[in-house]
């Protein structure tokens, strides 16, 4: 039934309608939406609409209410006030199933894939099969291949999701939406996990989808992308609509100011670390060889050194061994050969606990999977790794008063937005969970810090703040390794930049005189770039 009344915006709109589509009546309207959570007014009388064939961006700080609004649109939450309209008709969504049946799709900030299933199985999950109770994976696989050819998305339908890098999982999510032939797709921070190259490809796909006459809602903290991609931009602040505008009528700085409610200082970066030949080497890996999930070596004998008070940036395209590097040195993944040293003594093959005790902290890439326990309170997550320390526990009993005091200080220091310390961590917005983890990992004043994607999904204000803290930590003598797919971030933070490609270090550059082009070449596997620079 729903299918037939949505035929009017079917995928094959004539090309001439593209120009006129912006003038058309909105495909979907959200009118006066209000949503309260205990202690939080997440959405306050928000009105928002999307037209067929446009990208409408939602912009706002961490916790501004973007994901909440989109979850209402996807039937995950019911609004306290306000209503939805699809093609002018009131729409009531009791669950995501309702949304799916109206061909509304959502790619969540944290992916919703089942890692133990294959790509094709994930795509088919929850959809009726042509073969009744039996799944029809052959057909699904064929269609997945068709779609990936059509839109230029490379995905192997037979691969298991747990084997995929984040960027690849993203593509699976898009395939899933295309497979369901959505007319409206919500993309909650889809580019947070993509490399610049992947972002370009991704935007091509989005343009393709726009041309099909689909409506797209885009959420991102990266203002340049927003300016490039959007037809319209709506800024949310503290749950209220601050403004709706178009890229032509505004500037990056104006958008930033609208988001945070004040003019931001243009990003200043700290001076580089002053290293001398005497600066001790605090962290090093020698000849590190690590197996990947798919059997081949993810790291082929790599060497890296980080000095006290230095940030070593690891640049590279996602899936080239970064995750394995972080997991291996933190004891989460077996090491096939080589050594990892902290202050000259080997931590190779130690348990994660012993490695932490040796002074190494780790901000993991997948914050919801590894970094925090969603059902634990904010306070509990703050002491996940060190609740056994005597300041928090005596004779095996936890000292909740001490934990709370410690936690509330960190929450304040890092400006983590939470109603209180007992709130389940999964209720925080994505960026605030990241701040929580960052606060926890820096609290112990580590000798070595491994930070993977430290500002992924974090708003510009908070990203600036996290960068500031990383630089401070560096200046206090910590050896820091920042693994990031965001080249701007690496270039802004690092003192030296190691470029990784296919499990090998293509070269290490001095950040002071490295150029984007050089790094880009090395990321693509050209190792001469480094040599020619050195010469």
């Amino acid at each position: 039934m729903t299918h037939s009344d949505s035929q009017q915006v079917d995928s094959a709109l004539p090309a001439s309608s593209i120009e006129t589509s912006l003038e058309k009546a909105p495909m979907l309207e959200m009118c006066g939406i209000t949503k309260r959570f205990p202690g939080v007014l997440a959405n306050d009388n928000v009105s928002f609409d999307v037209r067929a064939g446009e990208v409408h961006t939602l912009l706002g700080e961490n916790g501004a209410g973007k994901s909440t609004l989109m979850k209402i649109l996807y039937g995950l939450y019911q609004p306290d006030e306000g209503e939805l309209r699809l093609h002018g008709k009131p729409l009531r969504l009791r669950s995501p199933l309702d949304a799916i049946s109206h061909r509304i799709g959502m790619i969540h900030q944290h992916f919703m894939l089942v890692p133990t299933l294959t790509v094709a199985e994930n795509v088919a999950l929850g959809l009726p099969s042509q073969r009744g109770p039996l799944t029809d994976l052959k057909r699904v696989s064929r269609r997945v291949n068709e779609l990936s050819d059509l839109y230029g998305l490379q995905v192997d339908p037979a691969a298991f999701v747990w084997q995929l890098a984040v960027g690849e999982r993203q593509r699976v999510e898009i395939i899933k939406a295309l497979y369901r032939d959505v007319q409206l797709l919500v993309l909650d921070e889809p580019t947070a996990v993509l490399t610049p190259q992947e972002v370009d490809d991704f935007f091509t796909i989005l343009h393709e989808m726009k041309r099909d006459g689909r409506g797209l809602i885009f959420i991102s903290h990266k203002l340049q992308e927003v300016m490039d991609l959007s037809d319209r931009v709506t800024v949310l602040r503290h749950g209220r609509v601050e403004a709706t505008t178009t890229p032509a009528q505004t500037t990056r700085n104006d958008l930033a100011a609208l988001m945070v409610g004040r003019q931001l200082d243009s990003a200043t970066r700290g001076n580089r670390a002053s290293l001398t030949s005497e600066t001790p080497e605090v962290f090093s890996v020698n000849g590190l060889r690590v197996a990947g999930d798919r059997g081949v070596d993810a790291l082929k004998s790599i060497d890296l050194q980080v000095h006290a008070g230095e940030i070593l940036g690891i640049a590279g395209v996602s899936g080239n061994g970064q995750r394995e590097l972080a997991e291996a040195v933190t004891g989460l993944r077996p090491i096939l050969a080589g050594d990892v040293l902290v202050d000259g003594s080997a931590i190779t093959g130690m348990t994660p606990k012993k490695i932490r005790e040796a002074g190494l902290s780790f901000v993991p890439e997948e914050r919801m999977r590894d970094g925090a326990i969603g059902d634990f309170s904010v306070a509990d997550n703050m002491v996940l790794h060190n609740h056994t320390e005597s300041q928090f526990s005596s004779a095996g009993f936890l000292d909740f008063a001490a934990i709370k005091t410690h936690c509330s200080k960190l929450v304040q220091d890092f400006n983590v937005k939470t109603p209180d310390l007992d709130t389940p961590t999964k209720n925080l917005s994505g960026g605030n969970i990241q701040k929580l983890i960052m606060a926890r990992e820096l609290a112990s004043n580590p000798r070595v810090l491994i930070a993977a994607q430290p500002t992924r999904g974090v708003d510009i204000g908070a990203a600036e703040y996290i960068h500031q803290r990383l630089l401070e930590q560096r200046d206090s003598g910590t050896a820091i390794m920042v693994i990031s797919e965001d080249l701007d971030e690496v270039m802004a933070l690092a003192d030296r930049i190691a470029v990784i490609c296919e499990g090998e270090i293509m070269g290490v550059l001095d950040a002071g005189n490295a150029t984007r082009e050089q790094i880009g070449l090395m990321m693509a596997g050209v190792s001469d770039a480094a040599n020619s620079q050195r010469a």
Binding site: I373, G374, L384, L398
Partner: protein, 362 residues
């Protein structure tokens, strides 16, 4: 708070629904449901004698149920309560037979401790198999139940048999009367109402304290909720799984010991089956725990209710000539209702809950 109200109303609703179906079954069996339920109620809770019998019945249910709660919090499912109870009974019996000379003040704790050790051992095996060899604990615990009953039959027919049985040639598979010093102290002598209930209550409270007030409980829960994050934070995930199963087994082992030393015959007897010794408490404890929302404190009233149902069922069988299998059916109905209403509750709560995307990761 409407939400907490819902949580309380669920068990009430599911009991009511189960009773309604039970009433229909009684009607079909030709008995008057109203008077049938009245009989059950008065037998279980209507008199001091009845209530004491109910409480005694609830002891092993409570202990096993508390053990289930602990394992569940670490995301381990312990179906091995039966076997762990048997081992607890055997270990405590052997301890009592080995140390008959100890004074009660020492011997009672020693035998209880022996029961705890026996159950913990029997829980540790599937725990270790799961943690280190990825063997499903559901299978291994069930298989160990079978091993336990064979071990019990072997020991009670051979090494542990009452020498008197051999002399008389009757060879009933049971131990001699265990030393009087090991008898559980009585609270009310006339009713044979022993102190086991206090031990079970203390165990439930300890389990709650353990889970929500200690570092160990913190680790067990973190492993249960998100093993990846626990591992990342340096929590020994495998060891925690073993510990959770050991604690769970220890509770069942204690239940087994109390069954032996609180029994009127003060000896361990076998009829060849686990059920003959445990009265199926190892399985019913799972129902009790589920009914108590897998919370050690809610397990207390839940076990008393189920103990009462079992006592009431016996008398219903006597008075109304209804097969006591009806009660087993009622048990099953309640489980089905609890589980399905649980689903409704989740739905109701879904609104105010972030769908935790990474739930699917597990």
């Amino acid at each position: 708070m409407p939400r907490s109200l819902i949580v309380i109303l669920i068990p009430v609703f599911s009991v009511a629904a189960a009773l309604l179906l039970g009433a229909i079954m009684l009607l079909m069996l030709g008995a008057n449901p109203i008077s049938g339920f009245a009989t059950m109620l008065s037998a279980a809770f209507g008199s001091l004698d009845g209530f004491s019998a109910t409480l005694i019945k609830s002891i092993p249910l409570m202990l096993v149920g508390v053990g289930i709660c602990i394992a569940f919090r670490a995301n381990v499912i312990n179906i091995g309560g039966e076997g762990q109870m048997v081992l607890g009974g055997l270990f405590s019996t052997m301890a009592a037979l080995a140390l008959p000379g100890l004074p009660p003040l020492l011997l009672v704790p020693v035998v209880l401790l022996a029961g705890i050790v026996g159950g913990a051992l029997w829980g540790a095996i599937p725990g270790a198999l799961k943690a280190y060899f990825n063997v499903s604990e559901i299978l291994s615990t069930i298989m160990l139940n079978i091993v336990a009953v064979q071990l019990m039959n072997f020991l009670l027919r051979g090494p542990l048999i009452d020498p008197g049985e051999i002399e008389r040639g009757t060879r009933i598979p049971q131990t001699a009367r265990l030393p009087e010093n090991s008898d559980l102290p009585m609270l009310v002598d006339r009713l044979n109402f022993h102190s086991g209930i206090l031990i079970a209550l203390a165990a439930a409270i300890c389990a709650w304290v353990l889970l929500w007030r200690t570092g160990l409980g913190f680790r067990l829960r973190s492993v249960g909720l998100n093993p990846d994050a626990a591992r990342y934070a340096g929590i020994p995930v495998k060891r925690s799984i073993v510990i959770a199963m050991m604690l769970s087994g220890a509770m069942s082992g204690l239940a087994g010991a109390i069954l032996v030393f609180g029994s009127e015959s003060h000896r361990m007897v076998t009829d060849g089956s686990t059920m003959g010794f445990t009265g199926s408490a190892g399985f019913n404890g799972i129902v009790v725990a589920l009914f108590g929302a897998l919370h050690p404190l809610w397990t207390i009233p839940s076990s008393i209710l189920f103990g009462g149902m079992l006592i009431g069922a016996n008398s219903l069988q006597r008075v109304a000539q209804v097969p006591s299998a009806l009660i087993i059916a009622l048990n099953g109905l309640i489980v089905i209702f609890v589980v399905s209403t649980e689903w409704h509750r989740k739905r109701l709560q879904a609104e105010s809950k972030v769908v935790n995307e990474d739930v699917v990761d597990k």
